[in-house]
Symmetry: D2
Subunit: 344 residues, 4 copies
């Protein structure tokens, strides 16, 4: 059975398992104070070219969003996000659970627009009853977005400008950051992100790790007592080495970028296969998630031999579905898929 | 350098790494719906002899306490715990962060007494202003406790009786459960726990896993929408397989019990070495954590060649320290320690 | 200086002050257990024709919304409201502060549509990743709305039907309920509301009281331990008599309805004056809040002799403003206003 | 029937009703921006001799504690209080509901000791695992305490010194402050409190008002956006005048102090009556709450003609009960009580 459901349905890239095995008997301090976390932090700072950055490791994406947002906001503030943002709709209200509102703004291809953010904050600033309202306290974007799309460098700069004009930190959810950086259609580099965002995270879980996300506070702006707040959110791992070793490995010899590049290569081939098969795209995605529209009857047949995910109902007879590639997708998988599409 | 700081300073037992490697390329559904989680659940239910149990896997201990307690309590209820309970003092207020009070009751050797629980609830029940007070809604105990001590079967039965007399679920924090079960001085079996507690967890992180705790709702009493509440707490892992594979391995061929037994064997030898060296015990612990009293000057010298943890100031010149054994402690470690104690 | 800013800028109707004075030296139990609260409850139940109703008194509107919503929702649930609903935008995130999401749905003249609620819930129910989402747990409407508009009986029935089809309680914010009930353009009676809603409140603060809202759980559905949850929200008044005496007075000899009717009569006259003066309405409101569009220069002059509230920017030169009537608005006020409009 | 149950069982002092009546038809801005709130603030600042103080009015005591504490603490901090403090045991967990731990320290006659606070903070500061613990962020005391007792000026100074040594604001719950200030056995003046505390409140509800507490931030230290946080807690009254007029009246011609003095005079007479009747005191209280020990059989008989409150079980046959005086207690009440005690 072929698997294109998602980028988290196989284990991790073998280098990580090797590193875990190699370091297994070594002593390491708990709670993130080990040398692997330190080394990984150092490497990430170098990749970002931000010597003043601070890096924190957290187990999963929702947890990261929850810890970062709730530790950066004042209690009377909320976070701006796209209506389709992960925190808006797919995290079971984890942000609200910590007491904060998510302001849901319109999205275009999964992206926020700088002008919408600015209008929103301006309306707030001009409101007579401002004291009765939640203050916009930060902006959350995902890159790639939940639709696999990417901000251009100009878009990112505009958003960053608006954020800083209004003193709101800009936070980028990079659960799939690798695929964004290695896309063939992007002009955004990790150094741009580290310059334009106040905090972002480098997703591990969905880019070849077993678990883990590396949060980067880009300019010494990690909130005081962040470790205690992590603990308070249940997000402090006793064996912090598990995250340290993984990220140290991912940022050795550009492994993170190589596996993301591989997934992008596979996605481009998958795209070509779909095109050749005359299958229409639901939207144009430059990353490892590809969205196509299939007839429901075809979906039924196809699902017997290949895994993919239903995304959105298009009409009575058609559904948008997602095919995702990952570090473990092979050329053979694609060849098999191509054949399946021909006969199904 | 010898390491006796804790039971989470080395990696995991090799069988787990092998299993992760063996299953790495297999497809597995996300979010805990994979076959390894299912198989691990089945094995745990069998070990507990509770076909009606439900098992959930969560990454770490504080997170588990937070998710379980906040999902079982009504919003007007609090949880009873020993003053020295982990949730009372070493989880950065993770329970209060979810809106609930921790009632801190006196402890004897780290343990709650059934009679104290009963008195507390009785005083509450007789209070005139009950509606102005937090309702006692559940009882939290740790086994082994934070001092390495254990409840006897009778103590556990009494607490369970009190809890059920007053309709309060009993929750056991088993972060180090294996060591409790394999202690040479216990009459409490896992089946007793599964019978007497409403929910407990089998600690993985501190008993040979990389991470992970297995929560057992013992009689079909998992709260509705538990998965959503896990997500809301940031505690739902995308690659749930990481926890499934580990627990499936730990509960294959009694591995969990074997490694815990090994740590206990090592702790007993360590105890004998301490006794022989004339070092007084801070308290009598039947599990893998041993607490002894050392002169401060000796601590300084000893720390240069062996890692252990300062626990509590005893007097100006003495400090209680903790030596912990684990799956990775070797006979050689102990021999070296013995020599170090002779010369330091 | 004339005052049309709002319906809370004068004190209370004189009957309330008389009743407070008359009962001042009487003993009354604290925390809502006094005979005035009981009598007020009884009278409200009679007016609603719901012998199975339960009535609770709370000091203010935001507090009422916070207590009611947070005590009715499960922790994994959120509340559906119009984007312009008071809880969505003018309560400083009081609902999110208790951990719950407000789902903001589109509004038409400040109102939710049954069909939008149904679509929203249907999309949720069909979602594959439902467990990762906040569950829609109740519906909040305001009547009159924040724009002074009213639901028709049919609209209310449809919303009630949708709510009950999906097992969501329907909660009506009646901060200005009196004006809704006494409007000349409504077919909704308080008995309809008591039949169609699961819980609603009869606003006192904005309808002639000093403070206070009467929450009606319409069919014995007050959550268990509601008093404790009130206390937990800081919403339990020691001198509960303050609320009891006021509502007992308001529901004696139909006072509540009479003062609301008076405000409506004044609003209708105000409307006629505006029309005669050729001032365009911003929207058609059948209640005590009237929204008109004025030139900014005129606003400036007019504000020197009459108080009203800026509502929304219409264009560069025009602003929508609100004129509100209340129990204390007099015919003379209107005559003076008319003259002012002629000369300004 | 005589009433000594509490100081909140009659209405308010007549001057307040007169003021409410006198100002009833006047226009006043909403939400605390009216001239009465401003005038009351000014008068309170003068009484406190703190021109840099800021005064906020809130409806009730629990609400005040909730708003003040949750707005002053960082999210990783908790509040220190006596085990018998109101926030510890009689506010339904209102503090924990906002996410913060209440550290319950031992009490002596309802009071915290500076040395206990210092020890507690010192143990925290020396803890190795400090980052895993809740940070002590402020200190809460009540004056008079829940037992009617009072801090001496020296005790208050010591506590204030400890608080400021460790950078923790000192917050005094003055729900019954008037009685403390007018006690015949106190050396603490309101100016001392305003100098030694960072924030305190002047209780209205229990000292002659219908409702309301005046929070004094003593040195310009009101948290930014306090109004929004009040709103977020549901504690912002639309008709803020209700609080403004009351406190303006209470602080005109020393009314607040006069009515408190009256209650103290009545309490002293009550004390003498009890002594003469040979009734033992449960504890020595210098304020308006007097605690005596009665035989249970006598309690039963006495309760038929006089209201008082059961406080604590002393032994099988005896119970401690509370008699409270207030602004409305009369000499006649006491004469009648004396007679009742002679015949019961």
């Amino acid at each position: 059975m072929l698997t294109f459901e998602s980028d988290y349905t196989t284990g991790c890239c073998p280098e990580i398992l090797e590193a875990l095995t190699r370091t297994n008997y070594e002593f390491a301090s708990g709670y993130g104070a080990d040398k692997y976390c330190q080394s990984a932090e150092q490497k990430i700072k170098e990749v970002c070219k931000r010597p003043d950055a601070q890096v924190e490791f957290i187990c999963g994406g929702t947890q990261t969003n929850q810890v970062v947002i709730s530790s950066l906001l004042q209690r009377y503030e909320g976070v701006i996000a796209a209506k389709t943002g992960h925190i808006s709709c797919h995290e079971a209200g984890a942000i609200e659970y910590t007491g904060h509102k998510v302001f849901e703004l319109p999205q275009v291809m999964g992206k926020l627009r700088a002008s919408d953010i600015e209008s929103f904050v301006e309306v707030f600033n001009k409101a007579d009853a401002k004291e009765h309202m939640v203050y916009p306290g930060m902006v959350y974007i995902s890159h790639p977005t939940e639709y696999g799309t990417l901000y251009t460098l100009n878009e990112l700069k505009s958003i960053s400008d608006v954020c800083h004009k209004y003193n709101m930190p800009l936070f980028m959810d990079g659960a799939r950051l690798g695929y964004g950086l290695m896309s063939r259609q992007t002009d955004v580099k990790i150094t741009d992100i580290a310059e334009l965002c106040d905090v972002f995270y480098i997703g591990g879980t969905k880019v070849g790790a077993l678990c883990g996300e590396a949060v980067v506070f880009t300019h010494g702006n990690r909130p005081a007592h962040f470790m205690t707040m992590k603990k308070q959110n249940g997000a402090l791992l006793a064996k912090g080495r598990l995250l340290g070793v993984q990220f140290d490995t991912l940022f050795t010899d550009d492994l993170y970028f190589k596996i993301a590049r591989h997934a992008i290569d596979m996605a481009e081939k998958l795209k070509a296969i779909m095109e050749k098969a005359g299958i229409p795209f639901f939207l144009e995605s430059p990353t490892n998630q590809q969205f196509v529209v299939l007839e429901n009857s075809r979906i039924e047949k196809l699902s017997q031999s290949v895994g993919f995910e239903k995304w959105e109902i298009v009409d009575e007879d058609h559904t948008a579905v997602r095919f995702a590639t990952s570090w473990s997708t092979t050329e053979e998988d694609l060849t098999t898929l191509q054949k399946l599409l021909q006969s199904n």
